[in-house]
């Protein structure tokens, strides 16, 4: 509870669960949700380093806030793309959107 390693391992676990989700999900929304987990693993690492190793405790918190902002922007854009893909192809499976495959 008091050691840096606990938090780092937890962040790494979140990151790897996110990677697992991206690789095994076939729908685009499922992959997006897994991306959020990856971003949160990164944010958790920032907060942990901030708590244990940083000289200025505001830096890590501010970076975590920025990660949240970028995640929100990413969600908005990606969801609108998913909705557009659905309207065009009537599917949200990553395998079925392959028009540019040649």
């Amino acid at each position: 509870m008091e050691s840096l390693i606990t938090y780092l391992i937890l962040g790494a676990l979140l990151f790897c669960i996110g990677i697992f989700g991206i690789l095994q999900h076939s729908s685009l929304i499922g992959m997006l949700i897994a991306t959020e987990l990856i971003l949160n693993g990164a944010g958790l690492n920032f907060m942990a380093f901030n708590m244990f190793l940083s000289e200025n405790p505001a830096t890590g918190q501010i970076f975590t806030l920025f990660i949240m902002g970028v995640a929100a922007a990413e969600t908005a854009i990606a969801l609108s793309i998913v909705i557009t893909v659905y309207r065009k192809f009537k599917k949200i499976m990553a395998d079925s959107v392959s028009e540019l495959k040649g």
Partner: protein, 177 residues
């Protein structure tokens, strides 16, 4: 009135609450990834974000914890729910999972985790000598508007552009049809 800290020692309560939060986070993360129903995935994501909020409280930052709750649970999960409720992909038949894909994904993530854990455990983390313990919201606000001002403005711009872009992308196709 008897508080729980009278019966069990406060340290034990704190430790138990921490591991409870870790369990909630990991359960939520697995729920966000494993089920095939997208609504279950989103609820799992909300659970995981809630657990991370608790962990941020343990890391000493109430402000970031509240922001996590507001932005992730309140905004991002809600956006996902709106996106799938307002458009019909939810009723689509999801294809059966391919076993080979799941096994490959599992091994890739397992190897990644082992490599990362190895790195984390083998490095000697030296704490800095001069730790400042100023965690207040005032400091964060002051630094946001002085040292990190440009980044702060850029994030605002990015959010505005992202929202306009999202409306344009989702709206253009409808107008064409």
């Amino acid at each position: 009135m008897i508080a729980i800290t009278d019966i069990i020692s406060p340290v034990l309560v704190a430790r138990g609450a921490f591991w409870l939060m870790v369990t909630i986070t990991l359960t939520g993360a697995l729920l966000a990834v494993v089920p095939r129903n997208i609504v279950h995935n989103i609820l799992g994501l909300a659970l995981a974000m809630f657990g991370i909020t608790g962990i941020y409280l343990y890391l000493g930052s109430q402000f970031v914890a509240m922001m996590q709750l507001l932005i992730y649970v309140g905004a991002i999960c809600m956006t996902y729910i709106f996106a799938i409720m307002l458009s019909p992909p939810l009723e689509l038949e999801l294809p059966k999972r391919r076993k080979a894909k799941v096994i490959t994904a599992f091994f890739v993530s397992l190897v990644t985790f082992i490599v990362m854990a190895q790195m984390i455990l083998s490095y000697k983390w030296a704490p800095v000598t001069s730790l400042s313990r100023d965690w207040s919201i005032e400091t964060i606000g002051q630094q946001l508007l002085t040292r990190y001002f440009l980044v702060f403005e850029l994030i605002s711009l990015l959010l505005a552009i992202a929202i306009i872009g999202a409306i344009m992308i989702a709206g253009l196709v409808r107008r064409k049809n």
